[in-house]
Symmetry: C2
């Protein structure tokens, strides 16, 4: 179905991001074209899966030839919604917050951390990434004045729900939550949760031999 603005499921979106990374790697290596087999291998996905994923959005390859790297990259960026800048406000300037603010992968993809807030008065005024830390009370101000799109929560579990609610009221459109709690927000605001403890537990589950074999 050759529709460049087609909708797709979350697993597809994540794989598209992987493909984009793989393509950029190939481009850096000077490659002009690639095949579904090569790119899929690079991403650890089956070739058929890759072709099916891409075909949801259009017909980007040539039979007998493959995919043009230089053309496919901007197409994928467009599909993924990476042609615009996304303004991000970060709540929590602890270890994780600082690491996120410094993470180069964010700005490379057009995610700009426009403000950082923390509830610790001692941290206010200090630098976190490229911006100065503001008081947590200023969360709404920061979101409104910058017209921020996304709120990243890198705060303790007990503080997350309140900050999420305040962020939503101030106009944030999506939340990336690193706190190990389920957030209760309107269904119109998508929440993507990253639970670090859970990742380790899922790995232990495999090591304990409790997974269905692949």
């Amino acid at each position: 179905m050759p529709n460049p603005t087609r909708r797709a499921s979350d697993p597809v979106a994540r794989r598209l991001s992987l493909y984009l990374r793989g393509l950029e790697e190939l481009a850096r290596a000077g490659r002009v074209s690639t095949s579904s087999g090569e790119l899929a291998g690079l991403c650890g996905i089956s070739a058929a899966q890759l072709r099916k994923d891409l075909s949801q959005f259009g017909s980007f390859g040539k039979r007998g030839f493959g995919y043009p790297v230089g053309e496919l990259i901007p197409r994928l960026r467009e599909i993924l919604g990476l042609t615009r800048k996304w303004k991000v406000v970060l709540a929590g300037a602890g270890g994780l917050g600082n690491a996120l603010a410094a993470y180069p992968g964010f700005s490379e993809r057009g995610f700009d951390v426009v403000a950082v807030v923390d509830s610790d008065p001692a941290k206010v005024g200090q630098a976190c990434g490229s911006v100065a830390i503001r008081d947590a009370d200023d969360l709404e101000d920061a979101i409104r004045s910058e017209d921020a799109d996304i709120l990243i929560l890198a705060v303790p579990a007990h503080a997350a729900q309140e900050l999420a609610e305040r962020g939503v009221r101030a106009g944030v459109r999506g939340i990336l939550n690193f706190a190990p709690v389920r957030l209760n927000v309107p269904r119109t605001v998508p929440v993507n949760a990253v639970n670090l403890g859970l990742e380790l537990e899922a790995l232990a589950f495999v090591l304990a031999g409790r997974t269905t074999l692949r």
Copy 2:
């Protein structure tokens, strides 16, 4: 199928971890029993899903009554493989590495960071969490002398593959990878990848209106 050592898929494992968290929260609140509806609501999962997940491992509830919080918690810990200690070696003492070493959720679940290594000589000897940072060359020594189970990679993308290979050769059984690259390791070594950039992109994909509606 009432078998307490049954195998299950990865999504099930992740939900079991959520249930455990929810149950611990209920226990802290002094609750003695709960229903599938209540616990599932707490975790953002459907009640039927929760019952089906639990029923794979045994019959833990009483009809007309619910689930005994105090009994189910240790059962879940056992199923998840959390009754033993897991020894973790952390590679990379940058922002993310330090945050992970300090993350309380790890030690609470029996994951002990027994060593931290970094390639920066200036960092060697400094404290990271509760241990001293060692040189990256000592990775194998650290893994072997501590008989470590899990390697966490919190290093730049270009360093990840080499460290993964060395870790596997030194006897690590599983890897938690925060570097944005696909690792090439024997299939006997499970790899759990957490790609922070990808999480933000998946969120942007939703915000850009490209997801199939739920």
